[in-house]
Subunit: 360 residues, 2 copies
């Protein structure tokens, strides 16, 4: 069957060219006589794959030399504990900005280890907007400031990088990393689960400034200590070798698309088209404030929720799948990460227009 | 190039039939129009893959119903902290049997959280034997007894299951799981990194008895708490979906080979052939006591270590690769996990005989 346009929030589509290459290399990588999955992580073949992936990510994101790039396991959910355990140092509190479900999870876990100050909270509005810089109540004595630049479930994305006046800024970029250029130097640490814009699930990328290493609490498990991984090039133990390899193929693909400038151009166009289709008729609605609309996760509702099932059925018949909104939000959600082709968004927009004119 | 016989200790060979099937399904799993890597872990397609894998593993290992099977991230190295954090309960100490490098690592991490009693220690003999049951100094008040049934680096394997008189027995089976039938009911918990006998790196299987859940310490990170994963069918967060799928293909393959009885028959024959070749001449030597010799990891030395490089070169020319011993042991190590075909062992034995007669 033809490949579908899969609007899943993650794991999500990967570039077809990347999967085809992985398929081709599956049984025999580069005349090595083995699959990448079968390679010792200490062997020269795999070491070259791992090093190339890091080099390409550094190039694509223009990561400064005073940042380590770690390829870890455990997902963003493990980071929620690792962040306070590693970064609290001799401080007693940290600032968290609460803009949705993932912020909330990060906060709940952090509270088990450190006093959490909520610097801003958009829950009253149902997590449909981002706080302004002026609204952030930041503490100069905080160990760090944590926020979620893009909330995957709410589809809310910051349109600015918070200014923290020297306090390290920590960002869960799981669903926005690599979608456009960012200035890494403004962050103390960036982390991201791979399964949206990077590669297969089971890999978590951490980009951390050197001065934030070496301050883990005494009770921090060795495997939760960033220094453990930084000092061993993410090979203290066996890493998720195949996911790391696939991530490397994605980084190469991004370079071929013109890097993050190229991705940003297409991503903006895709998002603009989809929001335009939502805004064009009262048949559809977006719950999110205009300046907080995500490029990556686009929730939208039908004015008549009684038509949701029929909408999903008609979409699926056209190969447009995984459009059902998160159970906590309802309606629809179209996740349009880097690997979603523009034709996929065009097909969705065409279906939305057709459905609205038939039912409206 | 032809596929090689790869004697890596892990990541290691996978069955060729499994990789071929993964290759064939890579772009479009079962007419879903997507790769397994791209599937939402909450979707019906992936849920069926995950459930089938667990069902097959339960069948293959005859896992009793009062055990949970967890598909986690983080490797055995994460388990080293998770075990005391989850299982110490109101006890203050645990017993550890020290038979090699991996036991030592488990002990070092456990000591950070609990008093460790060393029930036996074979380090004086250079980790080349297993202690007898009578030599184990077990404490009836220990929270648990931890041991490593097969030491991947030393190639030392227990030829019995320790009797612990009701104290939960915890086993790091990373390099021996699925190599033969075992009586799961004798264990409180079994864990194993996937990258030897299960599938690609990045997945860790935990088989835990129900009564050992729910006793994690207050400071245990949510992602390190077995209950978190047991209560959510290993989908509290996004699991390593592709590795889980690959593991499922391996479990199916094991069933096709006659289950663990079938694997044991071939594995014993492979090990017997290799040890016979080592013992047949003084040109080669095995450092390991006869009753402690591993079926899976076979270290051996050349009487003249000056010939090591030539041996490795000649082997590589015949497609026999990754035979160099661990840096801590030296010599050679042939890891002959389930996926190493008998022909691979035959080829190695033939080369060993040829090399010895030419050089000896």
């Amino acid at each position: 069957m033809a490949r579908k346009f899969n609007f899943s929030a993650g794991p999500a589509m990967l570039p077809t060219a990347v999967i085809e290459r992985a398929q081709q290399e599956m049984l025999d990588w580069n005349d090595s006589g083995m699959s990448v999955m079968e390679m010792s992580h200490r062997g020269k073949e795999y070491m070259s794959i791992a090093a190339k992936a890091e080099k390409d990510l550094r190039e694509v994101m223009a990561i400064p030399d005073n940042y380590k790039v770690l390829f870890l396991q455990g997902g963003a959910s493990s980071q929620f504990a690792m962040i306070p355990l590693n970064l609290m140092g001799d401080k007693t509190s940290a600032d968290y900005i609460n803009t949705g479900m993932w912020s909330k999870k990060a906060i709940a876990e952090a509270k088990r280890y450190i006093t959490v100050n909520i610097a801003a909270d958009t829950s009253e509005g149902g997590f449909t907007s981002v706080p302004t810089q002026a609204e952030l109540k930041l503490n100069s004595d905080a160990a760090y400031v944590h926020y979620t630049p893009n909330e995957t479930i709410g589809g809310v994305e910051f349109d600015y990088i918070p200014e923290t006046n020297g306090v390290p800024l920590i960002a869960d970029m799981s669903s926005t990393i690599l979608s456009r250029p960012i200035d890494v130097s403004k962050f103390g640490m960036i982390y991201a689960g791979a399964q949206k814009n990077i590669g297969p699930a089971g890999l978590t990328i951490v980009i951390i400034r050197d001065d934030l290493l070496g301050t883990a609490s005494a009770s921090c498990p060795t495997m939760f200590n960033y220094s453990t991984h930084a000092e061993n090039d993410s090979m203290y133990n066996t890493p998720a070798t195949y996911s790391w390899y696939m991530a490397g193929l994605v980084f190469e693909w991004i370079k071929e698309q013109g890097g993050l400038e190229g991705m940003a151009e297409v991503n903006k166009r895709k998002a603009d088209k989809l929001y335009a289709a939502i805004d064009a008729t009262d048949f559809y609605g977006s719950p999110v404030a205009i300046n907080g609309r995500s490029w990556m996760n686009v929730p939208f509702t039908l004015a008549d929720a009684g038509l949701d099932a029929e909408f999903l059925k008609g979409a699926a018949e056209r190969g447009l799948v995984t459009l059902k909104g998160h159970r906590s939000v309802g309606g629809m959600r179209a996740s349009i990460y880097n690997a979603m082709p523009e034709e996929g968004v065009d097909a969705l927009v065409a279906f939305m227009q057709e459905f609205a004119s038939k039912q409206g």
